[in-house]
């Protein structure tokens, strides 16, 4: 847990830094929070799925496995944070100039790629451990992908509730939006798809 707080906190700081020190501190707190809240919300479900799918991995072990996976991801992100910090220092601040939307998009893309890389690498390693520990390799694989699906589904919503992270140009820096529980991630995706289809 300390590794997650440190690694994700350090990386989160560099994500928010583009919008000032205050936002850097906010994201440093919120990025590890996404992981912890997701694990709390899914803790019971992950344990049940581990047992029902025949992996023999119960509640305590499933939490330990997932914390290990996220700790590996945090270490990778922590190691990447000096690079992210350097990249942020070389970007104009979010309120500057006419190219601010382009820089915002570039920053968003870079961080998404780096976080995805860290997540995929960590979970590939976790899959190996789960398969070895489970009663059968097949059951371990099933349990792992069930956890992954559940964590992605809930994690997307938790990050939606804890927004903003990147602060779109024109919006103010704040810890949480005024209405963090108004709407959900998937409704927003549906609305966005509907808007795109009307273009």
């Amino acid at each position: 847990m300390a590794l997650i707080a440190l690694g994700c906190g350090a990386y989160g700081f560099t994500v928010g830094l583009r919008n000032g020190w205050e936002m850097g501190a906010y994201v440093a707190v919120k990025l590890p929070l996404i992981i912890f809240i997701t694990l709390i919300v899914n803790g019971l479900l992950n344990g049940l799925l581990g047992l029902v799918l025949g992996s023999g991995i119960g509640f305590r072990k499933s939490v330990q496995f997932l914390l290990t996976g996220f700790a590996i991801m945090a270490v990778i992100l922590g190691a990447l944070s000096p690079i992210s910090f350097f990249a942020t220092l070389n970007m104009p601040s979010s309120g500057d100039g006419s190219g601010r939307f382009a820089w915002h998009g570039g920053s968003l893309l870079m961080h998404t790629c780096l976080i995805a890389f860290a997540g995929i690498t960590a979970h590939a390693r976790l899959l190996h451990y789960v398969r070895e520990f489970a009663d059968s390799s097949r059951a371990g694989t099933h349990a792992f992908f069930a956890w992954l699906a559940g964590n992605l589904f809930v994690g997307a919503q938790v990050s939606w509730n804890l927004r903003p992270f990147f602060v779109s140009p024109g919006l103010k820096v704040e810890f949480l939006r005024d209405d963090p529980f108004n709407g959900n991630f998937y409704e927003a995706v549906i609305v966005a798809l509907k808007n795109v289809s009307q273009i």
Binding site: L44, L48, G56, F181, N184, E187
Partner: protein
């Protein structure tokens, strides 16, 4: 009767009376005598870890009505907890109406599907007692209920965040299908372990049970969202019509 059940494909006995050691195939499938007694906590643990051992117990021991009764108790408690969380989306009367509708609706669905399950498993070649088939049905509902409790924090997160009753409704339907899918997998495994030769009939029954439970959400509507009346028995609708109308209203 049970000793004569010979699995034609493996050549091993599918079911065993107490005292005879389980065959290698039975041990591998988990269809072995249950460790411990039929207490609530042991049954709960075995339902999650070694569910087939419960069916072995049901099939080989006399007068074990305690197991189905415990499963019904697990189902009622789990579904009540889940229903309360569903009720937090609308609060008001739904905080007690949603758990009541979910528990009673699912229990009624299970009851009306019990005769067909017995007949279909018999046609499929399963020479099981009626009490074992009751146990199979109760295990589906109990396992689904337990998994729904596991999903309860997720449902709560979305119920406090979402504004759309249709979104919550479809999410709950998807979660129900996932949970009942685990229950169906369990009865298929149990059926095969007990010597069922043709699983096609059981598959048809699973589809019927799913259809009945989904229709029950329409019969007992509204389970999610607010309404002037707690029940709407006058206006009869098929669930596909109801859900498509709801979806249409939400997207307009």
């Amino acid at each position: 009767m049970n000793e004569n059940k010979l699995d034609s494909t493996t050549g091993t006995t599918g079911s065993l009376k107490g005292g005879i050691p389980p065959s290698i195939n039975d041990a591998q499938s988990g269809f072995v005598p249950m460790e411990g007694d039929a207490s609530f906590s042991n049954l709960l643990s075995k339902l999650l870890r070694k569910p087939l051992s419960i069916f072995h117990e049901l099939e080989t021991k006399e007068a074990l009505w305690k197991i189905p009764v415990t499963f019904i108790l697990i189902s009622v408690v789990s579904l009540t907890v889940f229903g309360l969380v569903v009720g937090t989306f609308s609060w008001g009367d739904q905080i007690w109406a949603a758990p009541l509708k979910i528990v009673s609706g699912l229990m009624f669905s299970a009851l009306i599907c019990l005769p067909s399950l017995y007949i279909f498993t018999c046609i499929g070649g399963l020479e099981a007692r009626f009490s074992t088939v009751v146990g199979m049905l109760c295990s589906i509902v109990a396992l689904s209920g337990l998994l729904l409790v596991g999903f309860a924090p997720v449902v709560w997160l979305f119920s406090v965040s979402s504004t759309s009753a249709v979104f919550i409704g479809f999410m709950l339907l998807a979660l129900w299908m996932i949970c009942v899918g685990f229950g169906f997998t369990l009865v298929f495994r149990a059926g095969k372990a007990m010597g069922m030769t043709n699983t096609g009939h059981l598959l048809v029954w699973c589809l019927i049970f799913l259809l009945v439970t989904v229709q029950m959400t329409t019969t007992l509507r509204p389970i999610v969202g607010e309404s002037d009346a707690l029940f709407n028995f006058e206006e009869k609708k098929f669930f596909l019509q109801y859900w498509s109308e709801e979806l249409q209203q939400a997207t307009d």
